[in-house]
Symmetry: none
Subunit: 201 residues, 4 copies
DNA sequence: TATGAATGAGTCTTCATTCAT
DNA sequence: AATGAATGAAGACTCATTCAT
């Protein structure tokens, strides 16, 4: 009984949190992060201003929370992919990028936020240093590919990792080409691979 | 005489402006754009707060001004390079990227600012939409390369342009690889070219 | 039966009220009156926030209630002492001070609260003007002592009353002397009665 | 010249600071410290809200500043008095109390503030622990009096110091007796020195 | 032209209080 | 009666911008 009530409350609370997050992202997209006020977010969510602080400590906290969630989501996907490595490393990279891309594509703006956010240290939720979140993963996979003879050895893995991350980024934020995200990504991967392959078929 | 005085005044004024700009960039790097106040900039410049408004209309104006200057600088270099097109398109792209990169490398932070700045419309100086500043140029050169048979035809020029811009960006902001900017850039261009070349030598 | 239930309910209600009061005093001591929030009090009491308002109208109300209770307690003691006046007035004063002191000593902080509280008029429970609560009593006893020839006539009773009250206060809040409350009080009463001079001219 | 301008500015600034302080004290007296808002203070001073923060970091800071000033003032007076010790210790105590009293009497409310202020540690200006500011001084003088044979030895100096401080306090805040501050103080000192008994046994 | 104190609009943040469950 | 999420009024504080000197 009590459980039922508590459960309902939990659910309700979670709903409210989501409402705030979605409103926030909506307004962020419209006005930009720094130009968005908490009042605006809560008006959009049709909630009182004070309610914000029942769920987040600050605006920064909110963004950090959103991003952390997305990163976790993405990392989970990557873990799954790495567990059953069927194809060659290049295929793994493609799959990873498509997975991560999908996660962020739902809300493209978040990627921009993710890139630009300067952590000031006040946030309670930890965001790892930007580039390194996925950087190590890419570098690892590249090294694997080098060992397997699929990738060239005359280019440092870290540089390739940077490039892969750049591809991800530019595909997600790309918007004027009239090409879908996954198409865009595939084109860029084509460029990437046919350059790093040791030999072309 | 009057001319001499005016000249001195001109020079003096320009000196003050530069002092403000340099102080601003310094503080931006330390604290981030939004966290930097005009008071701080002017303290760093060892000038009175009010003096700021003799040179710029607002903080946004200041950044816009800085960036515009850099872009103009870069575009001037590109124009010069395009006027005397000696080598193949790939060489032109390399030279352009190195030139632009150099301009922004002096102040890497500016690139970050350039990427993240959202125009809110209050600025008097116009900054063109981010990606497109150099995007068209890259696309043009790529098309030229396609016509000359150096570049593959199965990938849209716009996508390649995005990729080139991404390379520029990631090279400028790269910092943990221990590789110099131009080395980093060359590696990435190698990846780019040996992927897009119709055939590998 | 109905009576029994009502009694139990009464008792239960009283228990909750006491729990709130004790938690409040505890937090007041730790953080100060103004810095204490109702949420904190109720967390300390392990009760829901809303429950507070089933017992008190406001935070001010709570404090006022606490203090009033203590004052009533003290006044009751004084009445009893005055009813059976066996010794000389000086002894009565000593006994009164010791009694009041004991009441407040259990919770020294309450005395500080009692001293500093400014009534803003919103409270439903009335607290009489600070100094006067016991001031009149002291002045009365002093006058009695003057009539009986025990106390000097060249000093106004009100001034002595203020001084007695000051003794009470400073004894209750004293903390660094390493002397117990009642010892401290006795020393001060000695001064009050006899003075600090080795001999009186 | 420049000096003249700077000097004028300095003077102006000092005037504004005083205006704020006086307005603040006025409103504090009327409404109490915690009930006073910065807006109210600045309205009373006929200045913009923001101006407050050109002079003080917070409301606490302001009070701390006021009190520190008064304490310094009082301590300076005490030093002067101790340098030329002509009469007996009792006389020195009287003079010290009258001096301190005068300092705080101009603004009686400040003494109350001084007593009640709970330092939360955020203030930039340091206030020494309340009782001890003058406590040591009183204890010292009392010990001197004991050595000289003027004061009794069967009461600890610290207790007497507390009592003296209590006298100071109760005289400053006393208000209903219709007796002037210095008269009030003299009566209490008389009690302190001689006691209230008609004769000592 | 340089200055820097004054300004107040704009934000964040807190918290007593309410109320549906 | 107990609960705790929702609320918004209230207050602290910031800072771009103005303007008298």
């Amino acid at each position: 009984m009590a459980n039922g009530t508590a459960g309902r409350r939990e659910r309700k609370k979670s709903e409210v949190r989501d409402r705030i997050i979605n409103s926030a992202l909506k307004v962020f997209v419209e006005k930009g992060f720094n130009e968005t006020t908490i009042v605006e977010i809560m008006e959009e969510a049709d909630l009182g201003t004070g309610t914000f602080y029942n769920y987040f400590q600050s605006k920064e906290d909110l963004v950090t929370y959103c991003i952390s969630e997305k990163i976790s989501e993405a990392q989970l996907l990557i873990e799954k992919l790495k567990e059953k490595p069927t194809g060659p490393p290049s295929e793994l990279i493609s799959k990873i990028l498509l997975s991560i891309g999908k996660v962020f594509e739902e809300n493209r703006y978040l990627m921009g936020l993710f890139m630009q956010l300067r952590r000031t240290g006040q946030s309670t939720v930890e965001i790892p240093p930007h580039n390194n979140v996925f950087g190590d993963i890419f570098a690892d996979v590249y090294k694997l590919g080098q060992e397997k003879g699929q990738f060239r050895n005359d280019i440092p893995g870290e540089v390739v990792a940077e490039m892969i991350f750049g591809i991800l980024q530019s595909s997600v934020v790309s918007g004027n080409t009239g090409i879908s995200f996954s198409e865009n990504l595939k084109f860029k991967l084509k460029i990437l691979f046919e350059g790093v392959f040791t030999k072309r078929d």
